[in-house]
């Protein structure tokens, strides 16, 4: 954590952490506006902006038409003209209509104007499965965007990180895609330091130190990986668990330092395996640390089907589990 202005803290879940951080941003800077579907009177479908409209007014808490391309596009124009918009895509699954505005416009605004125009924009999107969300309320979208120069992508797992990283994203002079795993929204609680602080984008967090295997993950699966690592610890096996927190930029130093110590790498993510974030991490480690490895790199990631069938057995088949992660860890430690 970069700057913690005081040592007191409050226990909150991830929804409350997003809400408290947005509230603070709205209070501190009247250039900040929130726009998205149902963010006003309804207070967002997860109640993240509940009552914001009463305090900040409909000019700053904007219920948009159902039109994702222009939610992002209008935010881009606001940002180009000096506001600090926070755009919300109600579910990450609905982000596709705005793909060009994110990839072709927001990510290129500074570059294509050679710095004359900038796009300080945060796009928040609840993502991820395990919530009976079926095929259009379950997806992970990070791999579709992390290929794109000009974007930054954050996917925090803990309430304290939500606050620090969201503050950093709001302060950032460039567009940031801020991904919030829906299943962690109310499931995950934690101490959140009071007062304003930021966590730099691009810094991973070593959540548990270990010596025999490095497990890299982000989002919901970080919590399950920790659970799995704790199970293995009981059998005397030592797994280091890294929470990436930022997908782009990604923290090479922390990953390499860990892999060079443990000599084995397991990458765990919910998003589809093929072309996923794990592929880039694997390639980077193969390029930079191959001769430190004592086992092939292994990826435990989503199967090659759309995420994810609605019926419980289909959803469970798509999702991994702490038990499956523990088994993968054990196999790799014993390789």
């Amino acid at each position: 954590m970069a700057v913690v202005s005081n040592t007191s803290s409050t226990v909150m879940n991830n929804v409350e952490a997003v809400r408290a951080t947005l509230y603070e941003a709205m209070r501190n800077d009247d250039r900040t506006v929130i726009l998205g579907e149902d963010v006003g009177a309804r207070g967002n479908v997860f109640l993240i902006t509940k009552d914001f409209i009463k305090e900040f007014g409909p000019e700053r808490v904007i219920d948009t038409p159902i039109a994702e391309a222009s939610i992002v596009g209008i935010a881009v124009g606001m940002a180009m003209e000096g506001l600090r918009p926070i755009a919300e895509i109600q579910f990450a699954d609905f982000i596709y209509p705005s793909f060009n505005q994110i990839v072709g416009e927001a990510a290129k605004t500074r570059y294509r104007s050679n710095g004359e125009y900038t796009c300080p924009l945060v796009i928040r999107a609840p993502y991820g499965g395990g919530v009976r969300g079926a095929l259009s309320h379950s997806v992970s979208v990070e791999a579709l965007f992390y290929h794109v120069p000009g974007l930054k992508i954050v996917a925090p797992s803990f309430p304290a990180d939500v606050k620090g990283l969201l503050n950093a994203a709001i302060d950032d002079p460039d567009p940031v895609l801020f991904l919030e795993h829906k299943k962690t929204y109310r499931l995950i609680k934690g101490e959140v330091p009071d007062g304003h602080y930021t966590i730099p984008l691009g810094k991973a967090n070593v959540l548990k130190e270990g010596t025999q295997l490095t497990a890299v993950s982000y989002g919901l699966y970080v919590h399950w990986a920790l659970e799995a690592a704790a199970q293995l610890q009981e059998s005397g096996l030592s797994v280091e668990v890294i929470d990436l927190r930022s997908i782009r930029p990604m923290d090479k130093t922390t990953i390499l330092r860990s892999v060079e110590k443990t000599r084995k790498l397991l990458i765990i993510h919910e998003d589809n395996k093929f072309g996923g974030v794990g592929a880039e991490i694997s390639a980077m480690v193969a390029e930079e640390a191959l001769f430190h490895l004592d086992a092939p790199i292994r990826r435990l990631a989503g199967p090659d089907v759309p995420p994810m069938g609605y019926a419980l057995p289909l959803e469970e088949e798509f999702m991994s589990s702490p038990a499956e992660m523990a088994q993968a860890m054990r196999e790799l430690v014993e390789f």
Partner: protein, 341 residues
């Protein structure tokens, strides 16, 4: 021209002689710069050029209704004359054509994709209608800050009105009564696709009623009528009256670009027939007929425009290309790697 009244006096809509001459000069400059871009392409000096021939009057008139230093322009790629009219110089146009280091975007963008924050000219891509939500967002910023007397002028061609983001932008601007003017430059062609394959109902301005905003169609071959239509809409927007949809009728005399052969989809005869409407000689004749300029003055203006174009061409061509290392700057604020170490 429709500006001629029965009595033979010119309906000026408040424009003085200097403004009328400035509009003609803009039109002549557009024609000359367009021509120069195609020449440079055929000489093998530049890989690409794109012209606005047929749009000159529309753009000269619209630019005259733009309040420099206050308004914002969100143009598309066929807006040479509008960009000249709000303050971009021929030299800057040529820097764009030659993709030089000192071009506003450092030679990164296609020609005609101008931007200049200093004069309120928003940066845009080639993805049609993608700039319209930006224009609406900028208009929202103006309204949010309660900056009376400012408005956003956004433009597009007829083909762009088929895009979803065109609708989304109009809808949002109308809901919030934003200081926003949607100016459609209807030249009847979207590369090779005629208006009839773009929409069943060809009067674009009539869609305004569906959004609950004023709409108007005007003769875009007439710069004075254009000025009046754009000014009316911009004045309404600047004074809190909300957005408008205005449609100017013009024609695209050239192929879509230097990479297009328009004879694959339309005949030379059709283009020659429409050339009879050419707004440039028509407006010259109007100004001479009404004593605003003598034929000699018009001739001198043509020569001066050619001189300025030549000087701008030579000066821009002499400028250096961007350096290879310039590929890597201004992606994010500060130095950058996707892998953080």
């Amino acid at each position: 021209m429709s500006t001629d009244t029965k009595a033979g006096t010119l309906e000026r809509h408040g424009l003085n002689d200097d403004q009328l001459r400035a509009m003609l000069r803009n039109m002549l400059l557009q024609r000359q710069l367009d021509n120069r871009g195609f020449q440079l392409n055929r000489q093998g000096k530049v890989p690409f050029a794109l012209g606005s021939e047929g749009h000159e009057a529309l753009q000269a008139g619209a630019a005259m209704a733009f309040d420099r230093g206050k308004d914002i322009l969100a143009p598309y790629y066929r807006d040479l004359g509008l960009c000249l009219g709000i303050g971009l110089t021929p030299y800057e146009i040529m820097l764009s054509i030659f993709a030089r280091e000192s071009d506003h975007n450092g030679g990164r963008q296609f020609p005609n994709h101008y931007s200049s924050k200093a004069i309120g000219l928003m940066s845009f891509s080639s993805v049609l209608a993608a700039h319209l939500p930006h224009a609406v967002g900028a208009a929202y910023a103006i309204a949010y800050r309660e900056q009376a007397g400012r408005a956003v002028l956004a433009t597009c061609g007829d083909g762009t009105t088929s895009e979803g983001e065109w609708h989304e932008s109009m809808n949002f601007a109308a809901i919030h009564k934003l200081p926003f003017v949607m100016l459609v430059e209807n030249n009847e062609w979207a590369i090779s696709t005629p208006l009839s394959r773009q929409m069943a109902q060809p009067e674009i301005w009539k869609r305004a009623a569906g959004y609950g905003m004023p709409g108007r169609r005007f003769n875009g071959f007439d710069p004075i009528e254009t000025y009046a239509a754009v000014k009316e809409a911009m004045d309404r927007a600047r004074s809190g009256g909300g957005p408008s949809l205005i449609e100017g009728i013009c024609y695209r005399y050239l192929a879509h670009s230097t990479d297009d052969n328009d004879l694959t989809y339309r005949t030379r005869e059709e283009v020659l027939e429409r050339r009879k409407q050419d707004p440039v000689p028509a407006f010259e004749a109007v100004l001479v007929e009404h004593g605003v300029m003598t034929p000699q003055e018009v001739d001198a203006m043509r020569k001066d425009v050619l001189r300025e174009t030549n000087e701008a061409t030579d000066a821009a061509e002499a400028q250096p290309y961007p350096k290879p290392a310039d590929l890597y700057t201004n992606l994010y604020e500060g130095a950058w790697q996707p892998w953080q170490s």
